[in-house]
Structure formats: C-alpha cells, structure tokens
C-alpha cells in the first residue's frame, strides 16, 4: 500500500501580514539590532583570531596525549544545545557563580545582560568555527616549510609569521567569515543571558523572535529576509572563492 502525504490545502490563505512592497524599510530598532549583531560578530571574530590562532597552531603541531581532549572541548559547541551553554553561563556569570564573583571583585560588575557578556558567551559558542578551519590550514602546510625556515635561522615566532601565516591565509579568511556569520546567527544563548536590551543585547535574531511573538509578521519577514540574503551571500563568497588548486603545488 502506498501512503500518500496529505496534499497541501489548495487555498492556503495568504498571510494577512503579507509584505507591503511600497514600505520595505526596516525600522530604527531593526537597524539597531542588525548593527548590534554585526558589532558583536566583529568583536568576537577579533577576539577569536587572537585566542583561536594559538590553540589551532598547537592542535596542528602537537603529537601529545592532550590533542584529543582539547580538540574535543573545542568542538563541543558544535554539538551542545545552546541552552546548555546558556544555562551554565548564566549560573557561572551570576552573582554567586565563579565568573560573577571574579568580575565583581575586578569591579566589572556582572556580565549577564551586557554586551561584553554576550561577547564572552559567543567566544565559547563560535570557538570551533575559528579553530577548526585554522587547524586544517596549519596542518596542510606540513613540517617542510617550517624546517626550511629554521635552516635559514628563522626563530619559531619568525617562521610562524613569515611562513605559516601567509600560507594559511585562505584558512584565516574562511575561519573569520565562518566565525562572524555563526555569531550573527546566534540565538539561544543570547535569549538566555541577554535580557533583551535594545542596542546592548537585542541582536537581530532576537528581534525577529520578538516580532513573531508580538505577531508583527511584516517586520519579522523583512528582517528575516535581510538575514537570509546576507547569510547566503557570505556563504556564496566562501564557496565560490577557492584558491586555484594547481597554483603552488
């Protein structure tokens, strides 16, 4: 017997909040949310370039026993539900948590409901998107170029910046773009520790959620379309732009 899917209702009612083509502009609060998303993503990408590069380098070069566990920890955010990360961060960054106590002692106050709280959360959340492409790029270089650099009396630091970084440049680009877009796409963690503050923690993904909950489907459509087009274009750039494989081999 063949089971047939129930056919879609032929007269699926057009959404009452259908897009009004004459009025396609985003509201000020939508723009603020978008700008905040990009500012957050940019900050996180910079922080992760500084933090993720040494981790990726170490993971690519080490043959030690620690490579497995550290690699697994770095990859955790790929599989962990955002609610797990959000919950731990909320508790840890709260007034009775270890991070909360530390930030209060340092006179920084509490991190939840602040921009820097989101940055800290996103650094965890996007860590694998920076480290893994970089690690792959570093591994692809192999030992030989660095050995050659060493015979030319380049110090390891020198060799890293003059040999490894230029060779891994495409990896840096991919890693940065993925980190940036993944942070723009963050939602669950922000919802749990953000507190929905305009210009501070209400990023575009949360703004869309709020629009939907408030039944403002028109605004939700517009902002969602912006996010969709942005994400597609960025990924298109990543996939279309590949260094010529014949070159340099």
């Amino acid at each position: 017997m063949v089971l047939r899917c129930p056919a879609k209702h032929p007269k699926t009612r057009r959404n009452e909040h259908a897009l009004n083509e004459r009025d396609m502009l985003l509201s000020d609060s939508d723009l603020l949310a978008l700008w905040l998303s990009f500012r957050l993503a940019g900050t996180v990408t910079l922080v992760l370039l500084l933090l993720g590069t040494p981790i990726a380098w170490w993971l690519a070069r080490t043959r030690g026993w620690w490579k497995g566990p550290i690699g697994a920890v770095v990859a955790l955010p790929l599989v962990l539900p955002p609610s797990v990360l959000g919950f731990y961060l909320l508790v840890a960054m709260g007034p009775n948590g270890p991070i909360g106590r530390l930030t209060q002692t340092l006179g920084l106050g509490l991190l939840p409901f602040t921009f820097w709280g989101l940055v800290a959360a996103s650094v965890f959340y996007s860590l694998p998107f920076m480290v893994q492409p970089l690690q792959t790029a570093f591994e692809a270089i192999g030992d030989r170029p660095l050995e050659v650099a060493a015979t030319l009396r380049a110090s390891p630091i020198d060799a890293f910046f003059t040999v490894a970084v230029p060779l891994a440049l495409p990896g840096f680009l991919t890693a940065s773009i993925l980190t940036f877009t993944h942070t723009v796409g963050e939602f669950g963690v922000v919802l749990m520790i953000g507190g929905n503050l305009a210009g501070i923690t209400r990023v575009a993904s949360v703004q869309i959620y709020d629009h939907v909950e408030a039944l403002e489907y028109t605004q939700a459509h517009r902002l969602a379309a912006v996010m969709l087009i942005f994400s597609f274009l960025v990924l298109l750039a990543v996939y279309a732009w590949r260094p010529n494989p014949k070159k340099g081999t």
């Binding site: 909320l90 709260g94 007034p95 409901f113 507190g195 929905n196 909950e213 039944l215």
Partner: protein, 258 residues
C-alpha cells in the same frame, strides 16, 4: 536501513494506537506550578489519561495555534488571545475566564515584602526584570503599574526583559536581576517562597489580568479535553488555583496585601 525504517514505522503505529485518550495543553508560563499540580490531580482522578503540558508565552501560543499547532486546550494569561481565536473560528468553546492574575515585586536576596514600587529607584538596585511588555501579558501589566506610579522613565534604564514570566522569575531567582516583577502564582511556589518575600502590587495600578482558556477547534471531539475543562470548574481545581494566588471569577476578590 530498510529495517530501521520499518522499526520506526511500527513504533509510530504503536504510539498512535496507544494514544486513544490524550490531551495536549498549552499553558501560559505563570501557570507553571499551579498547572503541574492540577494535571497530577486530574490524572489521579482519570487513570490512563495522558495529559501533556507545554508552558510558554501566551502571544507565542496564539501565533502557533493560528498556524495549526497541535494543542487541545489553550490557557492564556490574557483573555484577548482566546477571544481572538474564537473570532477566527479556531476554538470549539467560548473564551472562558478561569482566573485573575496578580503581579508582585520579588527578590531572592533582598526583603521584597518591605518594598514598594518607589524602592525600585534605589541606586543599589541596578537590574529589574520584567516580562517583555511587547507580547507578554504580565510584562504589559508591569509596565502599566510602573507608568501609573510615575516611575517608568526613571526605572526603564534598569529593566531587563524576560521572554515570558517564568524566565523573568528565573532572572530574579538567579540574582542576575536583584528584583523582578513576576506573577504572584510563581512567587508563592515553595521554591521561590523559601528564597525571598514578595510585595503585592496594588490592583488599581494596572488593568486586570483576566485569564481565559479555550478548547481549540482540533479538539472539538476530544472528550478528555472537555473533561479537563470541566475539571477546571470543580471545587478541588479552584482550591489549587486559590492556593497559587489566583483570584477566581465568581468569587469576591480580596486584596490580601500583607
């Protein structure tokens, strides 16, 4: 691969055959503790009945039901949503009021029972959690009360917004916000009551939080859904609701401010 598919099919068939008597309830987050108790009482009286409850924000459920979400009963924190579903022909009952909600000041690390709304201007209080007034009924009432007290402009910079009233309570419970404006029904729950006191915000500062439920269109022929609705009207169910700080329709509302 085929085997796995067959097993899944069998599981699915077995599952659907077993669920002869089943009801799924969408309940506003302020009902969290009261509804848990009501459902457990109902199950004791109706052995074999399967009752699933989903908690969330009323506005969210409203949107979901309009898109065909599989809920049989919808307990909203604001009568406006069920009424609109009735108008849209998505209900199999009228919008039936079941309770009036109240809002309170609550804190996990300060004695909120000695506070008033004025206390929120204290510079020591830097974070106050309310539910998002854009779509959460309790958040709207919190905003109204702060506006009626003439404090909204002063307090707004300190506000953080919970997605629903349960998350708002959680922001205050974890101490990330020193004070929260939350539902009385959550503040009287033992979990929160053991941690801090509450101050009842005077009723006259905000519109009444008239709460209502409907049986949805899809549950028109669901006998269990009807039985649960009848159960809400029963004496034991009303006792539970009163215990959780709800004023009930048809009963004199007493302002038990301390």
């Amino acid at each position: 691969m085929k085997g796995i598919f067959l097993v899944l099919c069998c599981l699915w068939l077995a599952e659907s055959a077993a669920q002869a008597e089943k009801v799924t309830i969408a309940a506003a987050a302020d009902l969290k503790f009261a509804m848990d108790e009501l459902v457990s009482d109902f199950k004791n009286a109706n052995p074999g009945a399967q009752v699933d409850v989903v908690y969330g924000s009323s506005g969210n459920f409203f949107g979901q039901i309009r898109q065909g979400a599989p809920y049989d009963l919808f307990f909203s924190a604001d009568i406006m949503y069920p009424q609109q579903l009735v108008t849209a022909g998505l209900a199999a009952s009228e919008a039936k009021p079941y309770a009036y909600g109240r809002i309170v000041l609550w804190s996990s690390n300060m004695d909120a029972s000695r506070m008033t709304l004025e206390s929120l201007t204290d510079p020591k209080i830097t974070r106050i959690a309310i539910a998002n007034p854009q779509h959460a009924p309790y958040g709207k009432r919190a905003q109204e009360a702060l506006q009626a007290a003439g404090l909204w402009d002063k307090i707004q910079p300190k506000l953080v917004y919970g997605e629903n009233i349960a998350q708002t309570a959680q922001f205050a419970e974890s101490g990330n916000a020193q004070v929260g404006i939350i539902a009385l029904s959550l503040a009287v729950n033992p979990e929160l009551a053991s941690k801090g006191g509450y101050w009842l915000i005077p009723e006259k500062l905000h519109h009444p939080l008239e709460q209502a439920y409907i049986i949805t269109k899809r549950a028109e022929n669901n006998a269990l859904a009807r039985r649960f609705a009848d159960f809400m009207d029963s004496k034991p169910a009303r006792t539970v609701m009163i215990k959780y700080g709800f004023a009930l329709p048809g009963e004199a509302s007493e302002d038990k401010t301390q």
